[in-house]
Every structure is written in structure tokens, then in C-alpha cells.
């Protein structure tokens, strides 16, 4: 879906991306991890043709991206870290504007807007100027998904939100899993662990880690805990909990104990406790 080859970007003397290559497979939720200022937003803006690359090539759905041109963007939905809207419009007006710009038929815009506003819980006629940050983020998700993009690019969608807002956004992304390929940048590892199946780690202008999340966790577990159960039945019922086997690497120790490896100890302990 997205292929990045030898991408390089400099801002004056500061080298932000140094010949990075990345392949986002179809249908994946790709976690793009890096600290603040690592170059995640720059990479995303380069994919959208909003910034000019110094070297390298980006292909979206097989088509090369050109700076200043928006042709490849018809396959992309973009959610900025702090999305900005026109305060004098309401959510439905805004989605209608986006739909008409994407050349969608009026009936489809109306039906799709209703569905998406229900999905993100924004059935209000209030103008966007009175929206909270979380509401704007949810409107951003709705606008990004409006034209059923093949690739959804989310730039730190949860970083500026409180725990409830974060959960809402992650739940929405989880719901559309399978419908569209998602490139999701963040510096919050527990969010990556929760929804991503592939990851790449950007550090000092290079991709230092790249691959399937489960494989990487097996190779590089940061934490592991051995859990002892009172009976084999308890162990079986723990392993049947949703998402446990999907998100954590589990090694059988005995009939009543297992070892779980994770990058985020805190979220593991929460799940175990629950």
C-alpha cells in the first residue's frame, strides 16, 4: 500500500530523515514510533506531498507521490496531530465540504457523514468553534474516513488527549481495522501494543527497528512476568480472555504457570489484574 525508498529530508543543517525505507503492507495497522521531534510528522507530510523530499521515492498504492500535487491523496485519509477546521461550520457542513472536494456524489456524502458522525459520537449541530480538543480529533477521524481511503494516516491521534479521549480514538481505529490500511504515529508504546500489528521505530533519522509486532516482541521483550495459577482451569480461562494471545507473547512454563513478554509492563499487569 505504501512504499518508502531511501527517503531523505533536511531542514537547513538538520538531517531529519536519512535514507529511510519502509513498506506498509495492505490491511495492516502500522505503528510508526519515535520520540517527539524524531521526524514522524515530517514523514507523513512527505507522503501527502505537503513537503518536498531531498532524496528518495514514495509510492502510494503503486503511484509515486509528487510534491505540491494532490493526485495520490485521493487514496489517503489524513488525521493531523492537531487537526484544524473552519470554526464557522458544523461537523456535517465540514464533512460535506470534504466530500464535495473529493468529488463524492451528494447522496453518498449525506449517508456516509451520518454513519461516521454516529461512529465517532458527534451527532451535534453545534459549530466546530465550540468543540473540545477530543471532539475535534473525532471529527478529524470522520473526515479522514469519509471517502473510504485505502490508506489512513494518523499523526499522533492520541497524544494530546485525556485517557477517555485516547480510548475513544483507539476504539474507533480498532473498529475500522480490516477496512483500511492504517499508518499510526505515536510515542505512546501502550497504544501501539493495543492496536498495531506492524511497527517501525524512527530514531536519529534512521529506522532502527521494523517488522511484525509479535516477532519484534519475541526478539526484544523489555519485560516478562511469570504468572502462577491455582489450577490448570484458571490458566485456560485466563488464556481465553480476548486479545491476550493476540497481543502478548506467551510461553508455557507448566500446567499452572505461563510467562508473558511485553514492551509495556503496566498494561500487562492491568490485563492480568482484570
Amino acid at each position: 500500500m505504501l512504499e518508502i525508498t531511501n527517503l531523505t529530508k533536511r531542514f537547513k543543517d538538520h538531517l531529519v530523515l536519512d535514507h529511510i525505507s519502509l513498506n506498509v503492507p495492505d490491511g495492516s495497522i502500522f505503528g510508526f514510533i519515535g520520540s517527539n521531534g524524531a521526524g514522524k510528522t515530517t514523514t507523513m507530510k512527505l507522503i501527502l506531498g505537503l513537503l518536498k523530499a531531498d532524496e528518495g521515492e514514495i509510492k502510494v498504492n503503486g503511484e509515486p507521490v509528487e510534491f505540491g500535487q494532490s493526485k495520490t491523496n485521493r487514496n489517503i485519509g489524513y488525521l493531523a496531530d492537531v487537526p484544524q477546521f473552519y470554526n464557522y461550520l458544523n461537523a456535517k457542513d465540514y464533512l460535506s465540504l470534504c466530500g464535495r472536494i473529493s468529488d463524492m456524489p451528494a447522496k453518498t456524502i449525506a449517508a456516509r457523514s451520518d454513519d461516521l458522525l454516529n461512529l465517532v459520537g458527534l451527532s451535534t449541530k453545534k459549530r466546530i468553534g465550540s468543540f473540545s480538543r477530543g471532539m475535534k480529533q473525532r471529527l478529524g477521524v470522520a473526515s479522514a474516513l469519509l471517502n473510504r481511503p485505502k490508506l489512513l494516516i494518523c499523526d499522533e491521534p492520541t497524544s494530546a488527549l485525556d485517557p477517555v479521549g485516547r480510548k475513544e480514538i483507539l476504539d474507533i481505529l480498532n473498529q475500522i481495522k480490516g477496512e483500511t490500511t492504517i499508518l499510526f504515529s505515536t510515542h505512546i508504546l501502550s497504544d501501539v501494543e493495543r492496536i498495531c500489528d506492524h511497527v517501525a521505530l524512527l530514531n536519529h533519522a534512521h529506522i532502527v527497528l521494523d517488522g511484525e509486532l509479535r516477532e519484534l516482541m519475541e526478539k526484544h521483550p523489555l519485560h516478562s512476568k511469570t504468572l502462577h495459577f491455582s489450577s490448570p482451569a484458571d490458566k485456560t480461562s485466563f488464556l481465553s480472555l480476548p486479545d491476550i494471545t493476540m497481543h502478548y507473547r506467551i510461553t508455557d512454563e507448566s500446567d499452572t504457570s505461563i510467562t508473558i513478554s511485553t514492551m509495556n509492563l503496566e498494561s500487562l499487569l492491568m490485563e492480568a489484574f482484570q
Binding site: L51, S70, A80, Q84, L97, R100, I101
Partner: protein, 253 residues
């Protein structure tokens, strides 16, 4: 073309919902009403001041005085009001990042510039015609007189307004700031004013479109003398628009 219509509609909605269009129309309507009224009442106002028996002989006001007031008011207060209202045309969108989502939806950058120019032009033209119509009605009511070179004189001020709009879009695209856009307009007017100090350059100076009205109305200067200034202004408008498109396409967002 479809994207152009959609974005133009968005621009018009924006100007209506933020009351910019209404303010512009109200100011120009007021200027249209007060210009002939001021011309009519000025001798009476001055006469009523009473300067200790000093007699001031003022000629009877004519339709020409009303139009002189019109051009004086519109070219100063009117254009200033328009520049303040429209200086944020490109600058605000670039400074707030509101265009990013629409560009990510496939909106063409050329369309943004052209639709913004069309929307501001439409409002300026409408406000100007309303002001002109009101002034003409009142002037016809108070006096009856025909004008020399009417279309060219009125067209000149309108074209100068279009030049300011193109300048504001260029300034906003270049600087991404309201003050950058305003400064470029102010800088251009200062430059044109300095140029008008050279008598040889008067016929080429875009500022002549607003300052030559008296000479044309009184038929004291021929039309052909000022035609190069009209041509140069039209070329400048096209150049600033093309420059804005070129600049915007090269601009990292």
C-alpha cells in the same frame, strides 16, 4: 472546475458567517449615500460655522463635486476597509493550517488561489457597484448632469481594487501572515506614490487609476494618456496571481 465551485462556495459562506461581506457592503453603502450628501451640504455647513462676519463665497455645488467626494471616499476609506477585511484571505488559512486537511483530500493548490481571488473580487465588485449605484441615484436626485468618460473612470478605481486583492493574496502566500499581506499592500502603495512624483511616469503608474479621476471627469486630460496605466495594472494583477500560484505550489506546509 467542480473543486473551484466548491471552494468558492466555502469562501462565500466564510465571509458571510464571519460578517466580512456584511461589513464591506454596509461601509460601501454608507459611502455611496454620504458622498453626494456631503457635496450638497458642505457649503451650508461651512456657511453655518460663522467666522465673525468674514464672508466666504462658495460656488453652488454640482454633480461633479458629488463624484469627487465619491472617488475621494472610496479610494481612501473604502479601499482601506477592504484591505483590512481581506488581508487574512490566504494568510489566516496558512497560519492556522486549515488548508492542510483539504489539500490532503486532493484539493488543487491552483484552485485555492483562483477561488480566493474570485470570491474577494465578487464581493469587492458587488460592494463597489452598490456604492456607485447609490451615489448615482442620489446625485441624479440632487443634480442632473452627464459624466465624461464615466465607464473608464469608474473602471479604473475598480481595477485598482482588483490589484490590491491580487497583492494581498501574493503577500499572504509569501509570508503566511496577516501583517505580511498588509505590509506588501502598504509597500506597493508607497512605491506607487513615490513614482507619482515623476511626471513622466504618471501615465504608467497604477495609482493614476485613482488619482486621475478628476482630470478625466472634467475632460482636462485625454483618455489615451492614462491607458498605459490600465494595461500595466492588468498585467500586474495577472502576474501577482500567477506568482501566488507558483509560490504556493513550492510552499512546504
Amino acid at each position: 472546475m467542480k473543486q473551484f465551485n466548491v471552494f468558492l462556495h466555502k469562501e462565500i459562506t466564510e465571509n458571510l458567517r464571519t460578517y466580512k461581506s456584511q461589513i464591506l457592503i454596509a461601509v460601501f453603502l454608507l459611502l455611496g449615500i454620504i458622498s453626494p450628501l456631503l457635496a450638497k451640504l458642505l457649503p451650508e455647513i461651512i456657511g453655518s460655522i460663522g467666522l465673525d462676519g468674514l464672508a466666504i463665497a462658495l460656488p453652488e455645488p454640482t454633480a461633479l463635486d458629488a463624484w469627487t467626494q465619491f472617488f475621494h471616499n472610496v479610494s481612501q476609506m473604502g479601499l482601506l476597509c477592504m484591505v483590512i477585511l481581506f488581508s487574512g484571505l490566504m494568510a489566516n488559512e496558512l497560519a492556522h493550517g486549515t488548508l492542510i486537511n483539504l489539500l490532503a483530500k486532493g484539493l488543487s493548490r491552483t484552485t485555492v488561489i483562483l477561488a480566493k481571488f474570485a470570491s474577494a473580487s465578487l464581493q469587492w465588485t458587488l460592494a463597489y457597484l452598490l456604492c456607485l449605484g447609490t451615489c448615482a441615484l442620489y446625485t441624479a436626485f440632487y443634480w442632473s448632469a452627464s459624466l465624461h468618460h464615466g465607464w473608464l473612470v469608474f473602471g479604473g478605481l475598480w481595477l485598482f481594487g482588483e490589484l490590491l486583492i491580487a497583492l494581498m493574496i501574493f503577500g499572504g502566500t509569501l509570508s503566511s501572515s496577516f501583517y505580511g499581506s498588509l505590509s506588501l499592500c502598504a509597500g506597493a502603495i508607497i512605491l506607487f506614490t513615490l513614482l507619482s512624483l515623476f511626471p513622466d511616469a504618471v501615465s504608467l503608474n497604477p495609482l493614476s487609476l485613482t488619482s486621475s479621476t478628476q482630470a478625466l471627469l472634467t475632460n482636462s486630460q485625454s483618455i489615451t494618456y492614462y491607458l498605459p496605466a490600465y494595461g500595466i495594472t492588468a498585467v500586474l494583477i495577472a502576474s501577482f496571481l500567477l506568482g501566488s500560484i507558483w509560490l504556493f505550489k513550492k510552499k512546504p506546509l
